[in-house]
C-alpha cells in the first residue's frame, strides 16, 4: 500500500482552504509529547504547519464534526481513517451533523502505535519520537535510539482491525482496502469462558481502577448526548464520582448499554483511558451478543441502518436463554 505522507494531507487541506471549499480543517497536532497528539482545528494554510500525520494519529474526529459543522460557514474538512468512517456514518444515522457541511477525505491506515507498548520497553521518560520506516525513540535515560517496528507496538484495536474499507468519504486518498475478518472477539470469548468468580474478579480488578475521569465518555463518538444522564441533576441517576465499587460498574454497564448497537467498535474508549481499563471489551461483548442472537450488524456500515436494540423479530431469544451454550 502506498504510504500517505503528511505533505499530501497538508497540501490537500491548504488548497481546499484556499479555494474556499472549507473553512475549518480537523487534523492532528503535536501535544505535550511527540506521541501525545491532540485533535486540532486549523483555519488557515499557515496553521497547517502544525499538522501531524504519523503512527500516533489514533484520534477519531467524527465526533468533533457535531460542534465544528455548527461553527463553520462553509464546510469542515475532516480526515477519516477507515474505522473513523463508521463513526461518521453512525452519527449521520443519528442526524448529529449536516452531511452537506462536511468535506470528508478518506485516508488509508496501516494501524496506529500504542505508546504503552513502547513505554513498556523504554520506560516512561521518552524525550522524542520519530516515525518513519521504523519508530525511533530516544529517552532521557540514554543517548541511544531505540527502534520499533510498527507491527510490534501496534495498538490492540489495530491488530484486530475490522475494516480497512472506508464506508464514507467525498474523496479518497490512496488505495481502498477491504473489510477484514478479525479476531476481535477472541478476548471476549476468553472472558466468557472463565467461571463466574473469575469473571467477577477480572472485572473487579479492571473497573476498580476507574477514577471516573469520564475520558471514555468524552472521546466516544457514540456518547454525544446534549447532556449525559450521569451529569443531569434532574435525572435520578446523576452520579459524578463513584462512591462504591458498584457505581463504577453501574457507570460502565450503563454507558455500554447506551452505546449498544451504536458503538462502531472504534476503540477510542480504551485508547484514552488513563487507567488502561479495557473498556472496549464491554462494548464488544454487546456487539458479539447482538451478532450472535440478532444477526450480524455493524453500526455505521451504512447510514440509516436500524440497530438491533431498536428492532426485533417475533422469534428472538428469551433473556433466560442468552447464556445457553456457555458454562
Amino acid at each position: 500500500m502506498q504510504k500517505i505522507t503528511r505533505d499530501v494531507l497538508v497540501e490537500k487541506a491548504a488548497s481546499l482552504l484556499e479555494n474556499g471549499t472549507v473553512d475549518r480543517v480537523l487534523g492532528w497536532k503535536k501535544g505535550e509529547f511527540d506521541y501525545d497528539l491532540t485533535p486540532a482545528v486549523f483555519t488557515s494554510a499557515d496553521d497547517l504547519k502544525d499538522l501531524v500525520w504519523n503512527d500516533f494519529c489514533g484520534a477519531n474526529f467524527s465526533k468533533y464534526l457535531i460542534a465544528n459543522t455548527k461553527k463553520s460557514a462553509s464546510k469542515v474538512l475532516v480526515f477519516l481513517k477507515p474505522c473513523d468512517t463508521y463513526s461518521f456514518n453512525q452519527l449521520l444515522t443519528e442526524h448529529r451533523f449536516d452531511r452537506e457541511k462536511v468535506y470528508a477525505i478518506g485516508i488509508p491506515c496501516e494501524g496506529m502505535a500504542d505508546i504503552s507498548k513502547i513505554k513498556a520497553v523504554t520506560g516512561d521518560g521518552i524525550s522524542s519520537i520519530e516515525c518513519g520506516e521504523k519508530i525511533n525513540v530516544t529517552t532521557i535515560y540514554s543517548d541511544d535510539t531505540v527502534s520499533f517496528d510498527l507491527s510490534d507496538v501496534m495498538a490492540e484495536r489495530c491488530v484486530n482491525c475490522k475494516s480497512k474499507k472506508h464506508v464514507a468519504y467525498d474523496e479518497l486518498i490512496g488505495e481502498e482496502g477491504d473489510v477484514i475478518e478479525s479476531g476481535r472477539f477472541d478476548e471476549v470469548e476468553r472472558i466468557e469462558n472463565m467461571t463466574a468468580d473469575e469473571r467477577y474478579a477480572f472485572w473487579q480488578n479492571e473497573l476498580s481502577r476507574c477514577i471516573r475521569c469520564n475520558a471514555c465518555r468524552d472521546v466516544c463518538p457514540a456518547c454525544t448526548c446534549e447532556k449525559c444522564v450521569f451529569d443531569n441533576p434532574n435525572h435520578s441517576l446523576e452520579n459524578k464520582a463513584p462512591a462504591t465499587s458498584f457505581e463504577e460498574k453501574m457507570f460502565h454497564i450503563i454507558r455500554a448499554f447506551h452505546v449498544a448497537g451504536r458503538c462502531t467498535d472504534c476503540g477510542e474508549c480504551s485508547r484514552v483511558c488513563p487507567q488502561n481499563i479495557p473498556l472496549h471489551l464491554l462494548n464488544r461483548k454487546f456487539i458479539k451478543d447482538m451478532n450472535t442472537h440478532y444477526g450480524e450488524y455493524q453500526a455505521g456500515a451504512e447510514v440509516g441502518s436500524r440497530a438491533p436494540l431498536v428492532n426485533y423479530t417475533t422469534e428472538d431469544v428469551e433473556p433466560g436463554d442468552v447464556f445457553e451454550g456457555r458454562e
Partner: protein, 144 residues
Amino acid sequence: MQVNEKKPLIVAFCCNWCSYAGADLAGNNRLSYPADVKIIRVPCSCRVNPMFVLRAFQRGADGVILCGCHPGDCHYTSGNYYTRRRMAMLFSMLDYLGIEKERTRVEWVSAAEGAKFAATMNDFAQTVAALGENKRLEDLRCKR
C-alpha cells in the same frame, strides 16, 4: 438485625395489562408467594430501563424480575419484544461481569395466569434465597 435473619428482597416490575393483572388474579385466588416480592407497576415491560434494574441491585435488592405480556400479546403490540432484546443483552452483560445470572429473570405472565405468577414468584424467591445475599452488586452504604 442479624445477617442470617435477612430475607431476600425481590423487586418485580409488572406490566399493567397482563402481569399486574396476573398478580391480582393470584391474589383473588389466594395463591400465596413470599412477601419478599414487591411489585412495581409499569405500563409496559418496555418501560423498564436497565437502569432501574441496576438501581434496585444497588439499593440492596437480591433479585429483580420483569413480567410482561407473552410475546405477541403486548397491549402496545411490540413493547415486550423490545424488552426481550434489552433484557437479554443486560442479563448477558451482568453474567459477563461475573454476577450470578439467577438473580435476574424475565417471565411472560398473562392476565389469566395467576397460578403461573404465584409459581414463578415462589420459584424465583427460592432461587434467590439459595444464592444468599447479593454481595456483588449492592451499594454497601445502603445496607440495612
